[in-house]
């Protein structure tokens, strides 16, 4: 039977299996290969908090979703065209997210009696048959059996052989989407350089999967996705935490300051610690502290000592760090607090995404304690956001909070990366040494931006004391004077407010500068809002999208921009946190769209909501 090739504009694939099935790796390798073909793409890994949740159960299902296409791709896709289900639980957990008449690739060995029972199917259930009845195309492949057969000669044990089965799936998909195997062969060669048996087994299985597609007559169609119209340039694929790490390293080089990163492992921020620890040849000092509090306090110490001081964590960690962040604020030292947000409160949903630490960033400290807050909007944007946070903290001598989230941190997208030489230097002004023994050094003397000097220990003639107690203006001596406290409280606020004069005005990301509807967003909702607004503009509606990088202070034109639209819609993955702040500050009515399910907002639901508002005009 001959094979035909069909060209398609976009595809969403979800790889789903047990958390030990290697679905994250399979997805990542397929993504990397997809990027090389020039398609635009977005990914969404979705995994349980437990490293190895009970095998075969619904709780143990780990998924990796990839959306790619020959057009601009903004989101990882709402519904999937192809579901790879390594077992019955993976099918059950994802059945509702498959497109009508979509395709299921089922590993039949994962649908035996035991797996059906673990997935809580009734006795005698035939989920793959049912799926066929519902109009899905189901390919049943005995993947484990085929893998074992192809590795009959391999010296590996049965368990190790079975671990290769994700390569079979990958090989098959490469055939289905007209790819070659080279990028994965290169990867395997690097990864298993020192384990020739494992290398050979993986290679063999990968090829077996590819040939299975080629030779088995069940499959008659392969799919071709053309490159997307993307800007000229050199690209790579990048994940959010990875880009954030590179941004921090770049800021260290550009400011000529050694970087100190104090952190305690926490999902989903740990990869920042891992990433920075691998760049020791850039002079990066990573300090895995005994707890979150020690991590932030060591960061305060490093900032005091003159390093580019960073601490990173997620919401529960920020809760613990509150007092230490307050100390940094009182000492007016430069440091960046990275919060890769996850579902809360308390331990909440460690591996799920949420934007619910915004109010914590604004208000989560004792006293009147304003801090600048900036947010990243996509995986590759983490690079720029990290540099911007470092620049801001060094120029304004205040801790800066940088908000990311689990969706951005673990998501990947193509990145047209910059040349290091094109990234501007970051100027640092240490207080200069002095020989004048008589002159009194004033550590809390301020410049026109209300910024105090950075006088680091070891500088001749500048010995002085700082601390968490309220300070007297200029001298920094302890002061309980009522008028002084009010003055210092106001000046700390004024210093943060002043930053508005040193950041760009808010721009419209897409659409006209005035009109009926504005969709305002921040953080990881960028992709879905872009995609919805793009569609609605094409359909002729008067709609625009503005996305906030700067959350505190807001860009100085924001009020005017919001009032240029009849209605403002604010989608957030929380219970309405930015909405509260915008209402408080600008007293304008807002239409909120809030989703608090630990997952990103889908395009369909947002388009339905925003579209219905547009229809009223």
């Amino acid at each position: 039977m001959s094979t035909t090739t069909q060209t398609t504009e976009e595809v969403t694939i979800k790889f789903a299996g047990d958390s030990g099935d290697g679905m994250q790796l399979t997805g990542t390798l397929f993504t990397n290969d997809t990027a090389l073909t020039g398609s635009d793409l977005a990914t969404f890994p979705d995994f349980p908090a437990e490293i190895r949740a009970p095998q075969g159960t619904l709780a143990g299902v780990s998924g990796f979703q990839l959306h790619f296409g020959s057009k601009k791709i903004f989101t990882p896709g709402d519904e999937v065209d192809v579901l790879v289900a390594m077992n019955a639980a993976a099918l059950k957990a994802n059945l509702s997210s498959i497109k009508r008449a979509g395709t299921i690739i089922a590993s039949t060995d994962g649908f035996d009696k035991k797996n059906l029972r673990l997935a809580k199917y009734e006795d005698g259930a035939t989920p793959t048959e049912d799926a066929k009845d519902q109009g899905f195309t189901v390919y049943e492949m005995p993947i484990t059996k085929l893998t074992r057969t192809c590795l009959k000669e391999s010296p590996l044990g049965m368990k190790e052989k079975d671990r290769c089965k994700n390569m079979f799936v990958l090989g098959f998909l490469y055939w289905r989407y007209n790819r070659d195997l080279q990028s994965t062969i290169d990867y395997l060669n690097r990864k298993f350089k020192k384990k020739p048996d494992v290398l050979e087994a993986n290679m063999k299985t990968l090829k077996a999967g590819y040939h299975y597609g080629e030779t088995t007559e069940t499959f008659t169609t392969t799919y071709n996705v053309e490159p997307a119209p993307m800007d000229k340039g050199t690209y790579r694929s990048v994940m959010g935490n990875q880009a954030l790490v590179m941004g921090l390293v770049t800021a260290s080089k550009k400011s000529k300051l050694p970087l100190f990163y104090g952190s305690y492992p926490i999902t989903p921020a740990s990869d920042i610690l891992h990433g920075l620890a691998s760049y020791k040849n850039f002079g990066i000092k990573t300090f895995q502290a005994e707890d979150e509090i020690a991590a932030v306090c060591a960061t305060v110490g490093a900032a005091y000592g003159g390093n580019l001081a960073i601490t990173g964590t997620s919401g529960p960690g920020v809760a613990l760090k509150g007092e230490g962040i307050g100390l940094g604020l009182m000492l007016e030292l430069p440091m960046v607090i990275v919060n890769v947000q996850r579902g809360g409160p308390s331990t909440g949903l460690p591996t799920k995404t949420e934007q619910s630490d915004l109010l914590q960033a604004f208000y989560g400290r004792n006293g009147d304690s304003p801090l600048p807050i900036i947010a990243t909007k996509s995986p590759s944007d983490c690079f720029d956001a990290a540099i911007e946070a470092c620049r801001m903290t060094l120029q304004h001598m205040t801790p800066v909070i940088l908000l990311s989230d689990g969706y951005i941190a673990n998501g990947a997208e193509p990145w047209k990366f910059p040349k290091a030489a094109d990234i501007p230097e970051i100027k640092v002004n240490f207080e200069p040494p002095t020989d004048d023994e008589e002159a009194q050094f004033l550590p809390y003397k301020r410049d026109e931006k209300h910024v105090r000097g950075w006088a680091i220990p070891g500088t001749k003639g500048l010995a002085h004391r700082v601390g968490g107690l309220e300070k007297e203006a200029n001298t920094g001596n302890v002061s309980y004077d009522p008028a002084n406290h009010e003055y210092m409280t106001k000046i700390r606020q004024a210093k943060v407010d002043e930053i508005a004069n040193h950041i760009p005005e808010q721009a419209i990301d897409n659409g006209p500068v005035r009109g009926n509807v504005l969709v305002l967003g921040w953080g990881s909702t960028y992709g879905v809002i872009q995609s919805v607004v793009d569609d609605l503009l094409m359909e002729g509606h008067s709609i625009a999208h503005a996305h906030l990088r700067y959350l505190n202070p807001f860009p100085r034109n924001l009020g005017k921009l919001l009032r240029s639209f009849d209605k403002v819609i604010l989608p957030e993955i929380n219970n309405g946190q930015l909405a509260k702040i915008i209402r408080d500050k600008y007293q304008i009515p807002l239409l909120q769209y809030n989703k608090i399910q630990g997952v990103p907002i889908s395009k369909a639901e947002l388009k339905h909501f925003v579209g219905s508002v547009c229809e009223t005009y």
Binding site: T234, N281, A298, A463, G467
Partner: protein, 347 residues
């Protein structure tokens, strides 16, 4: 960090040059005054440079200390000084960093950091002002207070068994453990110098009298009348003699035993000879912890260097790793990092 030319002759500083213009606000009669004075004079005697010296404290009466030292200083937050110190020392390992803490700051709210700081072994000096009471919050029992202590928060007597700070330090594999007292300035100065010269984290516990909320807590060890029988001053390679030369400690198997040197049965040659590098015996010495006021058979409380050893410091190891990384991978190249492994071109 200082970039001034080297031909600037540094004038020799006196103890008073290390005093700030701030009024010292401890209660009159507080043991902290003595410690402050000895620290200032030790810094002068050691000819330390105030620009390269930093005092970091937590919260509590003792933690006001940095405000009174004409050096760099930070009064940080409760219990967290060990962490601040770690970050500072790793930012600039050239600095002489002194940490000031108290029994509440260091062993209650900051107990976790204390343990990890001791095992981590940065090259810093820690001065623990132990007064067995919470002074700044006006007199609640502290983690080193004796059981049954009656305070505002324990009107019927406290129930908490006290922490033995130096035993805990030995348990955390501290590399330098010593004890002194506010009322013996000569010994205190000597111990401050020993702490300074130790390469690694030096923990010096200083018994300090709080004359307002816990007056006389250590008088049995510090006052002339009782001191000879209740204390033992340790010296490296010297036998454990106390009681004005009349008594000594010998080991009966693993059991320390007080012997009378005048009885004729034992001489100094039979006594335990102090070896400050012996970790097991050091642990035993920290267990000389019974209260002579309630237990007449209590072993004398040791003062001096209980244990010291050399172990690579965290700061040295961290910078060595940075050097090794450069040796192996070359200086970091931003463009190579940003491009990563696999790239593609859109034309």
């Amino acid at each position: 960090m200082s970039t001034l030319p080297a031909d600037n002759v540094v004038k020799k500083l006196k103890a008073k040059d290390f005093a700030t213009d701030q009024d010292v606000r401890w209660c009159p009669g507080c043991g902290d005054y003595s410690i402050l004075k000895q620290v200032q004079s030790v810094l002068a005697e050691l000819e330390l440079n105030k620009d390269d010296t930093v005092f970091i404290s937590g919260i509590g009466c003792s933690s006001r200390f940095p405000y009174y030292m004409e050096t760099y200083g930070m009064h940080s937050i409760h219990g967290r000084a060990p962490a601040v110190v770690a970050g500072l020392k790793l930012a600039n390992p050239e600095l002489d960093v002194w940490m000031i803490t108290g029994d509440g700051d260091g062993f209650s709210i900051g107990g976790n950091h204390m343990i990890h700081a001791l095992r981590r072994n940065l090259d810093i000096n820690m001065l623990l002002f132990n007064n067995e009471i919470y002074g700044l919050t006006k007199g609640q029992y502290s983690p080193t207070s004796e059981v049954g202590k009656k305070t505002k928060s324990s009107p019927l007597g406290s129930l908490d068994h006290p922490i033995n700070p130096l035993a805990l330090a030995m348990g955390a594999d501290a590399t330098f453990v010593a004890r002194s007292m506010d009322r013996d300035p000569k010994h205190l100065k000597e111990m401050l110098k020993r702490s300074y010269f130790h390469k690694g984290t030096a923990l010096l516990e200083i018994y300090q009298n709080c004359n307002i909320f816990n007056d006389g807590a250590f008088f049995t060890f510090t006052e002339k009348k009782s001191k000879p029988d209740t204390t033992i001053y340790l010296e490296h390679e010297q036998p454990l003699v106390f009681g004005d030369g009349t008594k000594g400690i010998r080991l009966d198997g693993f059991k320390p035993q007080i012997v009378d040197l005048n009885e004729g049965k034992y001489t100094v040659d039979d006594l335990w000879v102090h070896d400050e590098h012996d970790q097991i015996k050091g642990q035993m010495l920290t267990r000389f912890f019974d209260d002579p006021r309630t237990n007449p058979d209590a072993l004398p409380r040791p003062f001096g260097v209980i244990y010291s050893t050399e172990r690579p410091t965290y700061d040295d190891m961290l910078f060595a790793q940075l050097g090794e990384a450069v040796d192996q991978l070359g200086d970091g190249d931003l463009d190579a990092m940003i491009a990563g492994g696999t790239t593609w071109e859109i034309k």
